[in-house]
């Protein structure tokens, strides 16, 4: 912006310029005047609105990894290689998280499939300076790659370590490009990516429902991981629909959330192992 003068012309130009900067980068936030809750915090949902959630039954889950591979295929995840693996930089939106307790001869182990927990109060969206990550009206925490500036604040804020950063542009052999799911964009270098509950599938399901002139039905939309699970340990559905399996199971006595004490209110519910 050139230096301002007191002329009317200059005044207006300055006004427009400031407005422009404000609109483009959201610097209003830095002044503490922007409503921090715009689309971020928890808000009452309109009646009838969907609220998508997942229930993972750890008693049925065998840690086989089908969900991880199905997710990778569905979302065009970068292939990975030994170097990335040794640096812990393999990008997987859904990981099998092992934990161990005790030792030989009576060790205990838990294998826990870990997608984005889709918090109702997501810590990651609050720290994003450019509104690239946000919670949408149906509860899904989104990530807009074209807005992301790669600051990785959200990655650090996520207590579940469910966000991944593209340190390098993904390498795709020419032949493999034909396998891309056309509904999901390929992420460039320098942006953060995450599990979106296969949001593109929801969009396609909605398109289909509109084309057929009917409301969205339960099970019209299933993420790839839930669809493929051979043990049927992953149940997905609308938590606002009291008849859905997901809503009912999320109230099961075995239900718990990861790091519940943080108050993030995840929409991924786990059912603990054991009778």
């Amino acid at each position: 912006m050139e230096s301002l003068t007191t002329s009317r012309n200059g005044f207006l130009r300055g006004l427009l310029g400031t407005l422009g900067v404000f609109l483009l980068s959201g610097i209003g936030k830095a002044w503490g005047t922007a409503p921090r809750d715009a689309g971020h915090g928890k808000r009452p949902l309109k009646p009838g609105e969907h609220r998508w959630g997942m229930v993972i039954d750890l008693d049925k889950c065998t840690g086989c990894g089908s969900c991880v591979v199905a997710c990778s295929t569905e979302n065009n995840l970068a292939l990975g290689n030994p170097q990335e693996a040794s640096m812990g930089r393999i990008i997987r939106w859904l990981k099998i998280l092992p934990s161990h307790e005790g030792e030989f001869p009576t060790p205990k182990q838990r294998l826990l499939p870990m997608p984005c927990q889709q918090c109702d109060i997501p810590p990651c969206t609050k720290v994003c300076p450019v509104y690239a990550t946000f919670r949408n009206e149906e509860g899904i925490v989104g990530q807009v790659y074209s807005r992301c500036i790669g600051c990785r604040y959200c990655l650090n804020a996520c207590p579940y370590t469910c966000k991944d950063f593209n340190w390098k542009a993904p390498v795709w052999p020419e032949e493999m490009r034909a396998s891309f799911n056309p509904d999901v964009s390929i992420r460039p270098k320098g942006v953060v990516e995450k599990c979106l509950f296969c949001h593109h599938r929801l969009q396609r399901a909605k398109e289909e429902a509109v084309a057929e002139g009917r409301p969205l039905r339960e099970n019209d939309y299933q993420p790839a991981c839930a669809e493929i699970c051979p043990a049927k340990a992953i149940v997905f559905g609308d938590l606002n629909n009291n008849d859905s399996d997901a809503a009912n199971l999320s109230k099961d006595p075995r239900a718990f959330h990861l790091l519940e004490e943080l108050g993030t209110e995840p929409k991924v519910t786990y059912l603990k192992e054991g009778a």
Binding site: L4, G14, T18, L19, L23, G26, G28, W31, A34, P35, A38, G39, D57, D59, K60, T62, G63, C64, G65, S66, V68, V69, A70, S72, T73, E74, L77, G80, N81, P82, A85, R92, I96, P98, E103, F104, P105, T106, K108, Q109, F134, G142, R147, E175, M176, A178, S179, F180, N181, P182, D183, H200, Q203, A224, E227, C229, P230, A231, K232, A233
Partner: protein, 680 residues
């Protein structure tokens, strides 16, 4: 800009104006818009059979503008009921793999040098048929041995058998993978038939002897489904799962009880449990009396076995053995399972099932109606080792990887080896001629799969996608060879060959139904009346008793030089030794320690302390046969004195993601081999 009074006010006014924007305007600007998904090309679905393992799951291939872009399970397919294993989910990576073989390759340099000459299909088929013709004339040696996959019948294997039959007798073999097979040698000796159905979800107690069944089951999806049933089945009952294994495996971690056992002594443990059941008189006397033969002799043969000796040899405390015996007799029905390990282990474990009386209609094990000819079995090793053929034709299996000690010798003594494969695997690399074949999605399917529980599914589907390269269907190759050699009465093309077979099976309609209907047919719902095909018509203990007389089962040789025991396991991602070529599978190979993209050796810190190894260090694992490199991973859950290594890595080629990665522990030994470690 200078901070003058004027400028200060000016900025104040600007910011005041901007923050006075109505909330809706701010929200509209700040909340990202959800882009509508891009307009979609023409979407279609192809229904076919997953060919990545012999299980035969039904898969749905999503195609957009003709490209396969998605894979999912078919919800009403009887085998997988909508689920898929990681391998099935990764099948697109095999289809689009950049290092697939595209033209026939003729060896130029010495075997294994990787120097090839690309030749045309015509030339490849012609030269191979000439080789076979020459091999047939005059030689006393078996002119041709054909080797294909074990367990499942498919039309491609059938075409290979047709070719083998037209050339000679006893020349058609199948290669198995014992870690992922049922104990069919025990079934054969004790039931008189390999066709024994196993209804896992009926068990109330499932005791596995060394079988990491959640990861290594021959039909992975069925194993995960059965596990969910055992845990939270419709009846609400919860089965008890006990895992007896040297390693704290995925199955052991999911089980109610893990019993660590010294590698290779599972059979011994089964025998002492049998003795306990007999001594406590808690075995099923009615069953033994009415339906078995040779019980008294078997009982006598256990006399020499003492609980203390077995406890020392297996490293399982005597108290735990006694409790296990009580558990076996109190939770009914109880099932004892194992894989196709040493014969003694197979039979000792299955003898428990007889003692517990859970064989027969309604039991965990029952007879299975089967069709002769649908069963190929992998016992090629000995006969070919003794008399190698003039020419070996390998169909979509990798014997040099799965059984290197045996097959290196056979391949070295075989003058000409031709391999049909989509990738340059270990066997292809050491072949004289490599014939590149379609991946499963590009193949027509007509195959027959038998579930463990005896239900059989015949499926038939045309190719899901058009072939990407100048490859051929394996069946097409074998048919062309048969035609070149025999000429007459061979269908002119593979499609009509398939149709003629479908007509024989009265299943010609199935092909047409694959566009969305049921392209499979369930052939039988298990359970034939009599589970025994033995001469006595009963369960027979004799073979086990005889084996016990021959073997000193208690011996546990200590070896000062090689103080540790090797334990090998097959991760699901690399089931049947295949899978390392697909990057998505590499990433899920070792979920317990988040290990991937390398060969890792799991051991207890105590085991590592003597050679002074720390976690993450590169090490050598050495046996008397050789040494391999691995990364030491220390785990407090590991059994001291045991080194566990996964099978599935260590290829010289097999595409860019597998090439030179990790090591193949089958090169240095098998289960229970004595090893030692040192820093690399």
């Amino acid at each position: 800009m200078e901070i003058s009074r004027r400028n200060f006010f000016k900025f104040g006014i600007f910011s005041g104006l901007t923050s006075a924007l109505p909330a809706w305007a701010k929200k509209a600007v700040l909340t990202p818009k959800e882009d509508a998904p891009p307009p979609m090309g023409e979407e279609s679905f192809a229904y076919t059979i997953c060919g990545l393992c012999p299980a035969g799951c039904g898969i749905r291939v999503r195609k957009v503008d003709g490209h396969a872009v998605g894979i999912s399970g078919i919800p009403d397919h009887p085998t997988n009921q909508g689920g898929l294993c990681p391998k099935g989910a990764a099948s697109l990576q095999e289809l689009y793999h950049p290092d697939r073989l595209r033209t026939p390759l003729l060896r130029r340099g010495p075997r294994g040098s990787g120097e090839w000459k690309e030749i045309s299909w015509d030339k490849a088929v012609r030269s191979l048929s000439e080789k076979i013709t020459r091999a047939r004339s005059g030689s006393k040696i078996k002119p041709l041995a054909a080797l294909t996959r074990a367990r499942a019948w498919d039309i491609q294997g059938e075409a290979l058998r047709g070719l083998a039959d037209s050339i000679g007798k006893d020349n058609f073999f199948a290669l198995g993978f014992p870690k992922s097979e049922f104990p069919s040698d025990a079934y054969e000796r004790m039931h008189g038939s390999r066709r024994v159905a196993f209804h896992m979800s009926r068990a109330k107690l499932l005791v596995s002897f060394g079988f990491d069944w959640l990861q290594s089951y021959p039909s992975p999806v069925e194993a995960q489904m059965a596990f969910a049933q055992l845990r939270r089945g419709p009846s609400g009952d919860r089965a008890e799962i006990v895992q007896i294994e040297p390693r704290f495996s995925v199955t052991a971690g999911k089980a109610d009880q893990w019993v660590p056992v010294r590698p290779g002594t599972e059979g011994l443990l089964a025998l002492i449990l049998a003795k306990q059941l007999i001594a406590n008189e808690t075995y099923d006397k009615a069953f033994i009396h009415a339906q078995s033969r040779g019980f008294e002799d078997f009982k006598k043969s256990l006399d020499a076995l003492s609980l203390d000796d077995v406890s020392t040899a297996t490293e399982v405390p005597g108290k735990e053995i006694r409790l296990l015996a009580v558990k076996l007799s109190s939770l009914k029905p109880a099932a004892a399972i194992t894989n196709r390990g040493p014969l003694l282990t197979q039979m000792a474990v299955h003898a428990l099932n007889a003692l517990l009386g859970n064989i027969g209609t309604g039991g965990v094990f029952s007879g299975m109606e089967g069709r002769e000819g649908f069963w190929a079995d992998g016992l090629a090793d000995q006969s070919l080792q003794a008399r190698p053929p003039e020419l070996l034709l390998v169909d979509r299996v990798d014997p040099l990887f799965l059984s290197p000690s045996v097959w290196k010798e056979i391949v070295a003594k075989t003058p000409f080896v031709a391999t049909v494969s989509s990738f340059l695997n270990e066997t292809a690399l050491s072949s004289d001629l490599v014939l590149p074949c379609h991946t499963p999605l590009e193949r027509g399917h007509c195959s027959f799969h038998v579930s463990a529980n005896g239900s059989a599914v015949l499926g038939a589907a045309p190719k899901a996608v058009a072939p990407l390269h100048e490859t051929k269907d394996p069946g097409e190759i074998f048919l062309a060879l048969t035609r070149a050699l025999a000429g007459t009465r061979v269908p002119a093309d593979f499609d009509s060959y398939v149709m003629s077979h479908m007509k024989k099976l009265r299943a010609e309609k199935l092909f047409h139904e694959s566009s969305g209907g049921k392209f499979w047919r369930e052939m039988s719902a298990a359970a034939s009346g009599n589970p025994y095909a033995t001469r006595s018509g009963k369960f027979e203990f004799d073979a086990l008793t005889n084996l016990l007389k021959l073997q000193d089962v208690k011996k546990a040789r200590e070896d000062g030089e090689f103080p540790l025991r090797l334990h090998l396991y097959a991760p699901l991602a690399f089931s049947f030794g295949e899978g390392a070529h697909l990057p998505y599978l590499q990433s899920v190979a070792g979920p317990q320690m988040q290990e991937a993209w390398e060969t890792w050796a799991e051991m207890h810190p105590e085991t590592a302390s003597l050679p002074g190894l720390s976690d993450g260090e590169a090490i050598w694992v050495e046996s008397r046969r050789g040494k391999i490199e691995a990364r030491a991973r220390l785990s407090r859950a590991a059994m001291p004195g045991v080194v566990s290594l996964p099978v599935g890595l260590g290829y010289a080629d097999y595409g860019r993601w597998a090439k030179g990665l990790g090591s193949n522990p089958l090169e240095i030994g098998e289960e229970g081999t004595e090893v030692r470690l040192w820093k690399a």
